[in-house]
């Protein structure tokens, strides 16, 4: 059975990753392009110039092609929480389900209702109503991002909840703590502004293609003017919130930070590695042996993590083996403490089956936060519940190379985008962009690069959380449904084939629509 579940958890992770990756190919463009379209339509509303209506309708056509497949993959993602992660759904459904339901009631209906006006209402409703519908579609799309990111943030940093022994699950105690935790607020800001940047680069890149072809010069130039400025502001906010993310991760998920930096030995005044090439896993036992070569910026990791050049940043070895001097528990100690919590749950089960109410009451006392014994047990043992399911301390180390390189792709590309968007905006403003053909090609190349950076960001966030489904409380191996591995692998390949086929169709349609351009409206 253990082997079966191991197979199942691997396939379930693969399936969820597949769905999430495909979903995230379409969502960021929807989030950002909806706002850009709304800005352009506002210009049409204010000026009455038919040029803007034609421009809006062109971008809207591309938006529609992208939106449909995003909806399809999103549906699967929501239900996979139940199909593939049934223990997870029970264990945290009381908290996690609420944002999903609110997302449906408050955001999805807003988006799906007004998108119909956006596409079909041109000759049926007033200009003002149409503009309102376009803005409400954009707001609905971004509002839905808020709620799903609240749910995701809670998995990274569970707050506002308590464990209920009777129902054997975590239950919400503060909606506001869940909805507005610093992790959630920052994650939303970072994710949405990075999506705005991606959409801006898409508009800039497509417009660059028109300039290269000498077509639609006015539309291209005006679109670049709006998108480059919008993208530049968004990219700067992304950088700012990314910096805050680092500081938050340092406190809430120190292993993720250590793995992102391939920092094996903790130190004061830790440097930030700008670039480096990692050695194979077996050779990476300390900082000295982790890299073939690397370029460091002194003390920057300490500054970014704790706003203090001399602050101590824990390394992978500290977090696995423990560091008493720094007050860091070893993972083995956490495993032992977690197993005490699991053992108490097991005693409770036995007492319940035997009808031993005395033992049941004793154990209930341990899980009661209003008593000193309860507080002690919850902080000393239950807080490490998830560790109790681990087989070895090394399991808490995520995939270091994947995190290390993904992080650098994300940050490197993000930095490039800031420079590029600033330069493009400035040159376009001075009407000197169309002559710089090499730059126009760079703008086009930045479209796939922006997708790569966006995916890399999610890899950092999600692979960095491993082995946890819920940080410290539930590893993925316990969160998974009791399904045969073959069943999950079958649906994995089914969805892989389907999504890939639909992606190919989407790209083909999209490219054709760009080639057709706005003239055929």
């Amino acid at each position: 059975m253990t082997t079966d579940l191991l197979q199942t958890v691997d396939w379930s992770r693969a399936q969820f990753a597949l769905t999430a990756i495909y979903h995230w190919l379409f969502v960021p463009l929807t989030l950002g392009l909806s706002v850009l379209i709304a800005i352009m339509e506002t210009l049409w509303y204010r000026t009455g110039d038919p040029f803007w209506r034609r421009t809006v309708q062109f971008w809207m056509r591309l938006f529609g092609v992208n939106f449909a497949i995003g909806v399809a993959t999103g549906l699967i993602l929501e239900f996979e929480f139940g199909t593939n992660w049934s223990n997870y759904s029970h264990f945290v459904g009381d908290i996690f389900g609420a944002p999903l339901a609110i997302e449906g009631i408050m955001a999805f209906f807003l988006e799906s209702t007004f998108i119909a006006v956006m596409f079909f209402g041109w000759n049926k409703v007033s200009r003002g109503f149409h503009l309102t519908a376009t803005w409400l579609t954009a707001i609905g799309a971004n509002l839905s991002a808020w709620w799903i990111l609240v749910a995701n943030s809670w998995m990274q940093h569970p707050v506002g909840c308590t464990f209920n022994l009777d129902t054997v699950r975590n239950e919400m105690t503060s909606f506001w703590e869940v909805a507005f935790s610093p992790v959630a607020v920052n994650k939303f800001s970072h994710t949405v502004t990075s999506s705005f940047t991606l959409a801006a680069l898409f508009v800039v890149g497509v417009s660059a293609w028109y300039l290269l072809r000498g077509r639609e010069r006015r539309m291209a130039s005006k679109s670049i003017g709006i998108a480059a400025l919008f993208g530049l502001v968004a990219a700067l906010v992304t950088a700012f919130t990314g910096d805050r993310s680092g500081a938050i991760v340092a406190r809430t998920q120190p292993m993720k930070l250590a793995a992102m930096e391939a920092l094996y030995d903790g130190r004061e005044g830790a440097p930030l590695t700008v670039v480096g090439v990692l050695r194979p896993e077996a050779e990476r036992t300390s900082d000295d042996e982790a890299f073939y070569f690397k370029i460091d910026l002194p003390k920057l990791l300490s500054i970014m993590s704790f706003r203090d050049a001399e602050a101590y940043v824990a390394g992978i070895n500290d977090l696995v083996a423990g560091n008493p001097e720094r007050g860091i528990l070893s993972t083995q100690e956490k495993i032992d403490r977690g197993r005490v919590a699991i053992a108490q749950l097991n005693f409770y089960r036995q007492a319940k089956e035997a009808g031993d109410s005395l033992v049941m009451r004793q154990i209930q006392g341990l899980f009661d936060p209003s008593t000193p014994d309860g507080q002690n047990f919850l902080t000393q043992n239950f807080a490490y519940l998830g560790y109790g399911y681990l087989h070895s301390p090394q399991q808490i180390v995520p995939n270091v190379p994947l995190l290390f390189y993904s992080f650098r792709v994300m940050v490197g590309a993000g930095s490039l985008f800031i420079v590029l968007l600033a330069a493009v905006w400035w040159l376009n403003r001075r009407d000197r962009l169309a002559d710089k053909r090499w730059l126009l090609w760079v703008m086009i190349a930045c479209i796939p690069l922006s997708y790569l950076a966006s995916q890399a960001g999610w890899i950092v966030a999600e692979v960095g959380r491993q082995p946890w489904a819920i940080q410290d409380l539930m590893p993925v191996g316990v969160a998974v449904s009791d399904l045969p591995g073959e069943a999950v692998s079958t649906t994995f390949f089914l969805f892989l084939a389907l999504f890939t086929a639909l992606l190919i169709a989407e790209l083909s349609i999209l490219l054709r629509q760009i080639k057709i351009g706005p003239k055929n409206e």
Binding site: F67, L75, F120, K124, K352, S481, L502, I509
Partner: protein, 381 residues
Amino acid sequence: MDTLSLLQHYWWFLIALLGALLVFLLFVQGGQSLIGTLGRTEVERSMIVNALGRKWELTFTTLVTFGGAFFASFPLFYSTSFGGATYVWMLILLVFVLQAVAYEYRTKPRNIFGTRTYDLFLEINGLLGPLLLGMAVGTLFTGGWFTVDRLNIAQLGGNTTISQWTTPWHGLEALGDWRNWSLGLAVLFLARLLGAQYLLKSIDDAAVAARCRTQIRIAAIGFLTFFLDFVCELLFAEGYAADPVSGAITAEPYKYLHNLLEMPVVTVVLVVGALAVVWSIVDGWRGRRRAIWFGGAGTVLAVLALLLCAGWNDTAYYPSLADMQSSLTIRNSSSSEFTLRVMAYVSLFIPIVVAYIWYVWRALGRKSITREEMQHDDHKY
């Protein structure tokens, strides 16, 4: 009734309402399953697809919200049914994925697979979507093969899964119970009935209207046959009752009949809903374009009453055929009082949502779709 119990009943009502709205909105699927029958020429098919295409996202969104609300209010059902009867749910998801892209891509140049493939996607979704959803809802009455033990999570080294399915078929056993087929087919024919009524209203074309009237008659016969069969079987069926104090589950003959007798308001809603659907059949038969409103309202009322009958009055709404005590009730499977209360505040937005959907629907539906519009539309599917 204490506050928690009140909230549990309230949330089951909302789940039932969302489920009822979803069944009504399956008219999009019903219409899709009729594209080839009602549309003989390319222009006719185009009118039908575009009439349906302006509503598909509402159905889709309602399905997603139904799932999200179920997750939030009754998470143990979400983990048990989705994690156990996985094959059925995966099939349902698959046919809805096909729908999501089909409208937008079907007539776009270089769509790789051609218009016929996307139309086939729409037909698959149109036929299998209502059928499978109806069968899945049927299991709320007929049950599933699962066990639930929350403290499995304490089995270090063993199987820690709380909800386990006891057959290797993971939900496909539902195909072996005729009552599930009966409800599935009733939902399918109802969707086709509503689809034909919707198209009768939305398309201003004599040829399509005449075929819609014919299809209304055919679908009505199918719907009434299977719906009456399901209701009759339900009235004589044994159900699982939950002890209101201890929560212990026992089998009770004629449980659903007892529920209808003990909840007369629900019975009235069911009868009024069924009569409204019958009225809409007569209206549609005569070619009256308002038929969809009676059909829609009747559907919502009838499905609402059936789902309330499944979950209210201390009934196990998801009976376990493997272990009676594992059966799910609104009491043993709900979220905490705190979460249900928070969600209840959120639910106050629902009337606003319904109001703006209604407003937009009317604004866009003022003019029926015509052949001329298909030639000049700036966003034609």
